[in-house]
């Protein structure tokens, strides 16, 4: 399940945010602290996650402490879907 989530996230980030379709993103590659995803795109990513997975990520959670790579974000999504 997490793999599916990660594939969807990777595709969204590479095409919509980085505008480099097909770009591979490592599952533990830093997304936020590295500056790969800026603060504006981060809100877009949250909106995408909420839309696609029906999981709420609060405005105060959009930071590198809550999730900083695909692994952590996928785990967060899955844990909230189970609730």
């Amino acid at each position: 399940m997490e793999d599916l989530i990660m594939t969807a996230l990777e595709e969204y980030i590479s095409t919509k945010i980085l505008k480099q379709p097909g770009r591979k993103i490592g599952t533990d590659e830093a997304l936020i602290s590295s500056g790969m995803i800026d603060s504006f795109s981060l809100v877009d990513l949250a909106l995408f996650v909420e839309d696609k997975f029906n999981v709420r990520i609060d405005d105060a959670e959009l930071n590198a402490q809550t999730f900083n790579n695909l692994n952590e974000l996928a785990a967060l999504i899955e844990s909230r879907q189970k609730k």
Partner: protein, 471 residues
């Protein structure tokens, strides 16, 4: 804080960190004492007692507004109230004890202090019992905290208020020269705003008085941050991290490095760092750059040194405060600079201003073009971050400088990302481009400090012209 004050607080932190039971109450007592003790001692001698009381009062009212009735465990809370009241009265009674080496404020007589505490208790009880008005009062509290913030941070306004207060008390004419400072208010206010906003969005856990106060006025971080998040802080408050040998070493190193950065490096740099006098007198472009760079490093070492001290002190009591800096001057672009400079403040603004605003505009029925949204949100966020430091033209321009910088960087990377040529993707050229980025970012940030540090935009502009040899 002076070295002596820090040394005493470190000793208190070590002691309280070792007591197995009642640690929270011990920390609360020290923090309460510290807000009276550290409040600058001049020139409003007669008011100095009331400002810390004001801090305690606002914190108590915010606690009453954010804690649901059923989780106000009075069994636990009475001991915290007893500590708050007794420390306040002890500070007041210094008029009798006269431990003037420690606390020199002219305190009001006991009847007045008791009457104030009684009045505060009444208001708190009113708020607690008036459940239906909670939502309304939360909004009033948000507005009041911000209003006080604006008043004490606006030179023109605080001047009027200071003068009024001085006349009211019929104090020394000397009192009229310096405006009032309310130590720690900027940080405490933003912690309280965070708890109220989280209460409104249903994310705030129920908190005891000891937990809430320890979070808001925690003595290592109340004068200069970091601004932690309450749920994180309280978790460690209730289950303090153990102090093994390595942790003592870590905390000690952190304190030592912090003191060295602040009292040696930053204080030495201060001799050659940018000032209004130097800017008007200097003729050589080279020296102007020296002054500018010296200031850039002075403010970094001063502020990050302070943070190291706060983090080290917190660690002695089993609490790991969040990092505020992460090698900001070594970052290849402005976005990353702002991910590593005064991190806890920028995260606060992201959580409670930038993200909700971006989300609202982004989800609107007729969405604006992306570049317009980024322009509005980025610039307004950074102007507000500028104004947080003080409501002056200089701070606003400093914020604008960074907002524009981030906007331009965003548009540039948006443009260049799909067009990055293959030659720029080799490891060697990545390194060169990275170094170029660090150089540009550092200099952009350094030039921004002109508006931050100098008395007004006119002097900043004069300095800018001298830096580029136009004068």
């Amino acid at each position: 804080m002076t070295i002596l004050q820090i040394a005493l607080l470190v000793i208190l932190a070590i002691i309280v960190g070792q007591i197995p039971r009642g640690r929270q109450l011990g920390m609360l007592a020290i923090s309460t004492f510290a807000i009276f003790w550290l409040q600058p001692n001049e020139p409003f001698v007669t008011l100095l007692f009331w400002l810390p009381v004001g801090t305690l009062a606002i914190t108590l009212l915010c606690w009453a507004l954010t804690t649901p009735l059923e989780s106000r465990k009075w069994g636990e809370n009475w001991s915290a109230v007893a500590i708050l009241v007794s420390v306040t009265l002890l500070m007041d009674l210094n008029r009798v004890f006269k431990f003037n080496q420690i606390y020199t404020s002219r305190t009001p007589n006991l009847e007045l202090a008791l009457a104030a505490l009684f009045g505060l208790a009444l208001i708190t009880i009113l708020i607690i019992s008036w459940q239906n008005g909670r939502h309304f009062f939360q909004i009033v509290a948000l507005a009041a905290i911000l209003l006080i913030f604006v008043i004490i941070k606006t030179p023109g306004l605080i001047h009027i208020v200071s003068e009024y207060l001085v006349n009211l008390r019929g104090a020394d004419p000397a009192d009229k020269t310096t405006p009032l400072t309310w130590l720690g208010y900027s940080y405490i206010a933003f912690r309280l705003l965070h708890t109220i906003r989280d209460k409104q969005s249903g994310r705030l856990p129920p908190l005891t008085i000891a937990e809430y106060f320890n979070y808001a006025i925690f003595f290592p971080s109340f004068t200069a941050g970091p601004i932690d998040r309450v749920e994180r802080f309280v978790k460690e408050l209730n289950a303090p991290l153990p102090l093994a040998n390595d942790d003592w070493l870590d905390a000690g190193t952190r304190l030592f490095v912090g003191m060295f950065k602040k009292f040696v490096v930053a204080d030495l740099l201060a001799f050659i760092s940018l000032s209004n006098v130097l800017v008007t007198q200097v003729k050589s472009t080279g020296w102007m750059w020296v002054f500018l760079y010296a200031y850039a490093f002075q403010i970094y070492f001063d502020f990050s040194g302070y943070t190291d001290i706060a983090i080290g002190m917190g660690r002695l009591m089993g609490i790991r405060l969040p990092e505020n800096f992460n090698a900001p001057y070594l970052k290849p672009n402005l976005t990353q600079f702002w991910n590593s400079w005064h991190i806890s403040l920028t995260q606060w603004f992201r959580a409670y201003y930038f993200n909700p605003l971006t989300r609202a505009i982004r989800s609107a029925k007729n969405p604006l073009p992306v570049w317009v949204i980024i322009f509005i949100t980025q610039i307004s966020t950074f102007v507000l971050i500028g104004l947080w430091h003080g409501v002056t033209a200089g701070f606003a321009i400093w914020g604008l400088w960074h907002g524009i910088g981030l906007f331009v960087q965003n548009r540039w990377s948006e443009f260049i990302r799909p067009r990055i040529p293959t030659w720029a993707q080799t490891q060697g050229s990545q390194k060169v481009l990275g170094a170029l980025g660090v150089f540009l970012t550092f200099n952009y940030v350094a030039l921004g400090w002109l508006f931050f540090n100098l008395a007004n935009p006119a002097i900043a502009w004069l300095a800018m012209k001298k830096l580029f040899g136009i004068l």
